[in-house]
């Protein structure tokens, strides 16, 4: 059995400051992190590997300028990692990457399970997983909190939110499962693997392969998204006092909370 885990990276929000008045983003510390949902997807893949002994291969969520997330995956315990190199289009969106990833999975000879984070940290978008499942014509289980492959290795079961609680869902393999942020705690990397993968020593370092993404596809997919700029919200207005009777103030606060929470 083969499980693919698709991992992204995102600029650590703790390292940036947004100046709303100036309409600028100041990057004080340019550090990229593995997004929380992708960390959970990696842990889910490791748990399935522990239970079934399957092969785990890490793929990048985008055409990254470096292979750091893949090295992290190898240090944690992934068997192989494929770095997709080559210059991509300026706006390599999820539609483009879903095509590239599907081609990479075909090049690998297929897979039984694809795991990835349910949402990205910056935009909160969810579309990469379902788009990939559509290309592969696989079933999808979204927002899973626990994933298990049954003994027969033909079925994946997952705990998903349903009707205000949690339900058990299952699909035949091959399938794609996205994992909710906060679902699982990523294990610590193995110290020896960590050192070797970053120093380029031994089998763990050799498990990192480089593929030119252009060689995977006969026809280049075209991104569909176009960036049209940025907008900054108005400066935060603090100290707005609510007045009136207790009931009036309560209605005003309830309205503000509902608007803020989108309920």
């Amino acid at each position: 059995m083969r499980a693919i885990v698709v991992l992204g990276r995102v600029l650590d929000p703790a390292g940036i400051v947004v100046n709303r008045r100036a309409g600028r983003i100041f990057v004080n510390r340019e550090e990229y992190i593995l997004p929380p949902a992708d960390r959970c997807a990696l842990e889910a893949a490791m748990r399935i590997k522990d239970a079934t002994g399957c092969e785990v291969i890490a793929l990048p969520r985008a055409l990254f300028p470096d292979d750091d997330v893949l090295r992290q995956a190898l240090a944690i315990g992934a068997d192989r990692a494929i770095y997709l190199s080559g210059r991509g289009p300026d706006c390599a969106d999820d539609a483009f990457m879903a095509s590239v990833l599907a081609a990479a999975i075909r090049q690998l000879g297929g897979a039984d399970l694809v795991l990835t984070g349910a949402t990205t940290l910056d935009t909160g978008w969810t579309q990469l997983g379902p788009r990939l499942a559509e290309i592969l014509d696989w079933p999808q289980i979204l927002d899973a909190w626990q994933v298990e492959v049954q003994d027969s290795m033909t079925v994946v079961q997952a705990v998903v939110p349903a009707d205000g609680g949690y339900a058990l869902a299952e699909a035949d393999l091959p399938a794609l499962v996205t994992i909710a942020a906060g679902a699982l705690k990523l294990r610590y990397p193995n110290g020896v693997r960590l050192i070797n993968v970053y120093r380029g020593i031994g089998a763990v370092a050799e498990a990192l392969e480089r593929w030119e993404w252009q060689t995977l596809l006969e026809e280049r997919p075209t991104p569909v998204l176009e960036r049209r700029g940025q907008e900054f919200p108005p400066e935060r207005e603090r100290g707005v006092r609510v007045s009136g009777s207790a009931a009036e103030m309560a209605r005003a606060v309830a309205g503000a909370l509902r608007q803020r929470l989108g309920r």
Binding site: P13, I16, V18, D94, A95, D122, T123, G124, W125, T126, Q127, L128, G129, P130, R131, E134, I135, P139, Q140, I141, D143, W145, Q146, Q157, G165, Y166, A167, L168, A169, E170, A171, G182, A183, T222, V224, L225, R228, Q230, E231, F232, P233, R236, R238, G239, V240, R241, V242, A247, M249, A250, R251, A252, V253, A254, L257, R258, R260, L261, G262, R263
Partner: protein, 347 residues
């Protein structure tokens, strides 16, 4: 707006429809929860109406489910010019493949220009697969939208890092343009109770869902979220008065309970729940401080909170200097009113 301009807009719409070989238009796929329309569906219709009026296009609503035909009139009242209904026991509970089959057949025939979903579990499951299947673009979780009329392209504002700033994104070359809208971000439309219409039925072919729901996940509880990562916190202070009301407020909002040193000293919370630079610093989307005076250590610990509501009887309390919304009231008297307002849904 003069009539000749309207004629021009409608001619453009017809031209687009002729080019793509369908009816075009702006479509809204409704979210039905417990037999009623989700509020986000009405918000989507409000946006659709605005876009359609600028595009010179028609608005269509799509309803899928079982026993939902009567809801079509609500869609008409919210601004839909036409409604398509797939009312069938096979669609009684949301399952991806049967819903996808109905919608992809419909959109293949109608070739919409814009399709809007709510950014709900159903919308987030359907929209990307339909976008991929139809070659469309998808902008998710938008909170504002404008129109580039020259190219008939919707430009969506997507909040980054929870709204620190917004990326403006568009799909100028891809049709349909799929959008998912953040619930609560767009105003609900005016409901014109005089508007009525006759919905048309969509064929439903039996398609077996590929994901099977086996029932409630017995014994499963999600891992507790550490306070520092909680998106919503209700915190109590010495002046909170009745801690049970604070708990009740947290329960209604689905928030985590915390407090300042005073609440810890009163025995209401554990050490790990103390919000303080010497304890836990937090960065929630919303932080509600109930009866917290707001000393330097506490206020520094909530610096990263996106929105702070403070309830305190003292108008000079330092918490009011950092709060976005200040309520000068006795928490013991104010909280029951707030709970009532939240439960009743009236604002």
């Amino acid at each position: 707006m003069d009539i000749s301009y309207l004629d021009l807009l409608m001619a453009q719409q017809e031209e687009f429809a002729a080019e793509v070989g369908g009816g075009g238009g702006v479509w809204v796929v409704a979210d039905v929860v417990d037999g009623a329309l989700a509020p986000v569906t009405l918000e989507a219709l409000g946006l659709a109406r605005t876009l359609a009026d600028s595009l010179g296009a028609y608005v269509y609503g799509v309803l899928l489910g079982e026993g939902i035909t009567a809801l079509a009139q609500t869609l008409y009242q919210a601004g839909a010019d036409g409604v398509r209904v797939a009312d069938d026991p096979l669609l009684g509970r949301f399952a991806l493949e049967p819903y996808l089959k109905v919608l992809s057949d419909l959109f293949e025939q109608e070739r919409p220009e814009v399709v809007i979903f709510g950014a709900t579990p159903q919308g987030s499951a359907l929209a990307p697969r339909l976008a991929q299947r139809t070659g469309g673009g998808l902008i998710e979780r938008i909170t504002r939208a404008s129109l580039d009329e020259a190219t008939r392209t919707v430009v969506g504002a997507v909040p980054i890092y929870g709204g620190e700033y917004f990326e403006l994104l568009a799909c100028p070359a891809a049709r349909p343009q799929f959008l998912t809208i953040t619930p609560g971000a767009f105003p609900a439309p005016f409901m014109d109770t005089r508007r009525r219409g006759e919905p048309s039925s969509l064929p439903v072919e039996p398609v077996t869902p590929r994901v099977r729901l086996l029932g409630v996940a017995e014994g499963f509880a999600p891992p507790p979220l550490p306070l520092k990562r909680a998106p919503l916190i209700v915190a109590a202070g010495r002046q909170a008065g009745d801690f049970e009301s604070v708990r009740a407020l947290a329960s209604v909002l689905g928030a985590q309970v915390a407090g300042d040193r005073g609440a810890y000293d009163a025995g209401w919370i554990g050490r790990e729940q103390v919000v303080d630079v010497r304890g836990t610093t937090v960065a929630p989307q919303v932080y509600i401080a109930v009866g917290i005076q707001g000393d330097t250590f506490h206020n520094a610990a909530i610096e990263e909170a996106r929105y702070i509501v403070a309830i305190h009887p003292d108008p000079e309390a330092p918490i009011f200097e950092v709060a976005d919304l200040c309520v000068e009231a006795q928490p013991a008297q104010f909280l029951p009113e707030l709970l009532e307002a939240l439960k009743s849904g009236k604002t």
